[in-house]
Symmetry: C2
Subunit: 496 residues, 2 copies
């Protein structure tokens, strides 16, 4: 349905984004926030029609899509508030010391936008991480025009959201080119965008192969640019013995829900459960298996994802010493491969440590229990795993205290460390970190959820010896915007 | 003198740094700061011997080296203070909202260290950007062990500073491997360090070729890592007509000093002066030329830099329509090529725009005046230049107001924008930005001077639903460290 945007059109889109950048970057924080709020209102005004389109294209249920749109609207509004509040600007002022030898000049610094940002829509979040999602919202807040390449799995949804953004841009007087929408199935579309001199940063949520390709293109340009690719993870859960012996059935129930939530199509889906051989672990596996067997398989997002799940699941299950524990009793019928079969398997710790394939994500409702022979082996698993979005520790207070080495290893492994809960559910707030050491994301120094995500698309610019009247409002003596600034090393909202 | 560290020794150094990381990362901010202050004290205690060694190896004068060591000591002390103060941690707390649907968990985030950092010493700052320089200090503050590859141009200086750091590490109880010093002339030493899995970030100050090579190695690793390479720039100065007509002689005098300061071996040396054809510009060129002719050439850092300067200067002067305006009347005598001849040349704007070689830095006391036919041509120059560490605008208030497009172009071009002053002199303070769009540096989102440089070597880690007693002190309810934190979106030093 969505034909590739032509090369000629893409050149025009990039030129328009570049021209718009020089206008939009000078728009005030309030103007940017107004634009973002207008997008939120337009998304809301799309009403049931947009939900129906998304249901048809994504197989996601209505309630989920309504919830996701509400989340997207909340994201736009909360990043708009953060944009205006201005903490993200990291405004710093050091006043002159003319009596110093040599004299110290007046220097003031704030973040300024990088330039046009290319955003690749995600298939698993048709609203929240696609056309008007978190990457787009944070780029707009930073002062960057956005070019979205809509995900080919939901072209009509993406198109309708793009139209909503363009209406908002028009109503709020944004420059032409502040937002553009392109489509394409061939990789050439993405390559043209990412390697173009006018593209200054990239946002992506999706597979490792896709994200790594964008990163390689971007870092091999004559002028390398940053790529913020969130590429998923297995989100290991470490089950400590005392905790498990206290609450195996409750943990099993909690995790049956987390593993199968959204047919396992969340990047924070817990794909690895690591415990030490014990009666409690047997009980946990038994209870979790029972819950999985009672699940009703759901439809996956699209044929490509369903096929990949089926293939990767089979490959994992075929590995030596991997045992299938449970899949639903009431299977969907093999004829319709769009259904994702919830699956629980186990493997011993030694086999796991020796087989890197088992460390990889199986995107979908699949989880592998690693039965370690000892706590030392569990620690070794924590040390050998690749970078993760999240790690979870199921442990008593006392176990956290006594497992310093394991806790340290987990801190080094992930972007978010959860205690006695599930990794699914990514709260939109400033303290959230959604990102992690490679290969969870391409730049662990930033995350894609919460207002700190704005900083991905900005860089510091210092003004030295600049006359007050000609400084940006953000840095003027009088602090007309009333933002928090660090003045001579002290955070303050006061004027000078 | 400095033989290459053997491959076997390097493996040991990397292993020790990795082991030290797991200890040092858990050291408190106060312990890290104590270590850094001890290094400062040891550097001071090195006394005259270290200055004499550096004089012998760098050709830099005594006063400059004493000043640079004092600056290095100040950097260590000021980054130690910033480390303890903790603003750089970006601590954020969002408290739980159990009544929300779904319930919002308690989430708290702070920056944590990346891992061992490899620092490449710079030849032009044997103290401030070498072994115990800004990169080393910011990595230690962030909680990262450091491996320095000493610059082969000052091996004994580097060795003496390394010994000072190791003494400080021992006195303050740091883990073995928190600091190591390796040497090498062959590129294999650098490649081994940067491509090793235990190296997690790189700091570099030097040439474009060197920095870009490190960036390529680092981004093509199986696990890419960040490289913070500051690769210099031509630091263009835009001379607006009214300002020039008011003060051509004063500006000429100011710039004669800036161009020749330290034999032009600062990365912020103004290598390009752009004006519009006028009598005032002729006067400026005349006065500046006169000052340059009266300069006494100084010794450059080492043979390699002096040869490169001579070669690049000749190549620039041989370009069509480039005219030599001035070089010292009392030349050093051509026989000793270690002397850097201060040189002023001119070219017309059209030729400049058409010849990319003229846009490149000639590292040394060389400056090119671009005589534009019009203000439009001057704007085109601003738009065509590559990324810069600094840009300078010499202009009246009124000219700043009336040249919006030029000011916008300069903001987009550089990391630091100076008004009516010179770019040389890089103040060590929080508001400084030393870094800029590529090719000035490999990551414009960070700088290498001022305490924000600490953030280069850290990444966010979020704790979700974590019990207060088991959180790091930085995130505990009681705020035992008394640091600034953002609690439910408001900056505060209060406890919860």
């Amino acid at each position: 349905m969505a034909s590739d945007t032509s090369q000629q059109e893409m050149q025009q889109v990039l030129q328009k984004a570049w021209d718009a950048f020089h206008v939009y970057r000078n728009f005030s924080l309030r103007q940017r926030a107004g634009f973002m709020r207008a997008i939120a209102a337009e998304l809301d005004a799309c009403g049931d029609g947009l939900i129906r389109t998304a249901m048809r294209e994504t197989n996601l249920p209505e309630a989920r899509l309504r919830g996701e749109r509400a989340r997207t609207i909340y994201q736009l509004e909360s990043y708009a508030a953060a944009c205006e509040k201005g903490d993200w600007l990291e405004a710093r002022i050091d006043t002159a010391l003319p009596e110093k030898n040599p004299p110290k000049p007046d220097i003031r610094k704030m973040l300024v936008p990088l330039g046009p940002v290319v955003v690749f829509g995600a298939s698993n979040f048709p609203f929240a991480y696609s056309t008007a999602g978190g990457d787009t919202a944070s780029a707009f807040a930073a002062g960057c025009p956005v070019i979205v390449k809509g995900h080919p799995a939901h072209p009509d949804t993406s198109e309708q959201v793009a139209e909503a953004i363009l209406r908002a841009a028009q109503h709020t007087g944004m420059p032409e080119g502040v937002f553009s929408h392109v489509t394409g199935i061939s990789y050439e579309v993405g390559k043209t965008l990412v390697t173009h001199p006018y593209c200054k940063a990239v946002g992506f949520t999706g597979s490792f192969a896709g994200g790594k390709q964008l990163f390689d293109w971007a870092s091999q340009r004559p002028e390398p640019i940053p790529v913020f690719a969130e590429m998923g993870s297995v989100n290991p859960v470490f089950l400590l013995p005392e905790k498990l012996s206290q609450s195996a059935p409750e943990i099993a129930a909690m995790y049956a829900g987390s593993i199968t939530l959204g047919v396992g199509q969340f990047c924070t889906n817990p794909g690895l459960l690591i415990g030490v051989e014990s009666e409690a672990l047997q009980q946990f596996i038994h209870d979790l298996g029972k819950a999985i067997r009672q699940c009703i398989p759901g439809l996956m997002l699209h044929q490509g994802i369903a096929c990949a799940y089926s293939r990767n699941r089979e490959a994992a299950l075929m590995q030596e010493n991997v045992h299938l524990v449970a899949e639903p009793e009431n299977g969907s019928g093999e004829e319709d491969s769009l259904y994702g079969q919830p699956t629980l398997a186990t493997v011993d710790g030694k086999t796991f440590l020796g087989n890197p394939l088992l460390h990889k994500e199986v995107f979908g409702p699949y989880s592998l229990v690693v039965r370690c022979a000892s706590e030392a082996e569990m620690l070794e698993v924590a040390r050998q795993l690749e970078g993760q979005l999240t790690c979870t520790l199921m442990a008593t207070d006392e176990e956290v205290r006594s497992h310093t080495e394991l806790v340290n290893a987990l801190k080094n492994l992930c972007g978010r460390l959860i205690w006695n809960a599930v990794p699914t559910g990514v709260e939109v707030c400033l303290s959230m970190q959604h990102g992690g050491p490679f290969p969870a994301s391409t730049d662990a120094r930033f995350g894609s959820v919460g207002a700190d995500a704005i900083k991905r698309f900005a860089r510091p610019l210092a003004f030295q010896n600049w006359p007050d009247a000609l400084l940006p409002d953000e840095l003027k003596n009088g602090n007309p915007l009333g933002i928090w600034r660090t003045v001579n090393n002290e955070p303050t909202r006061m004027s000078l």
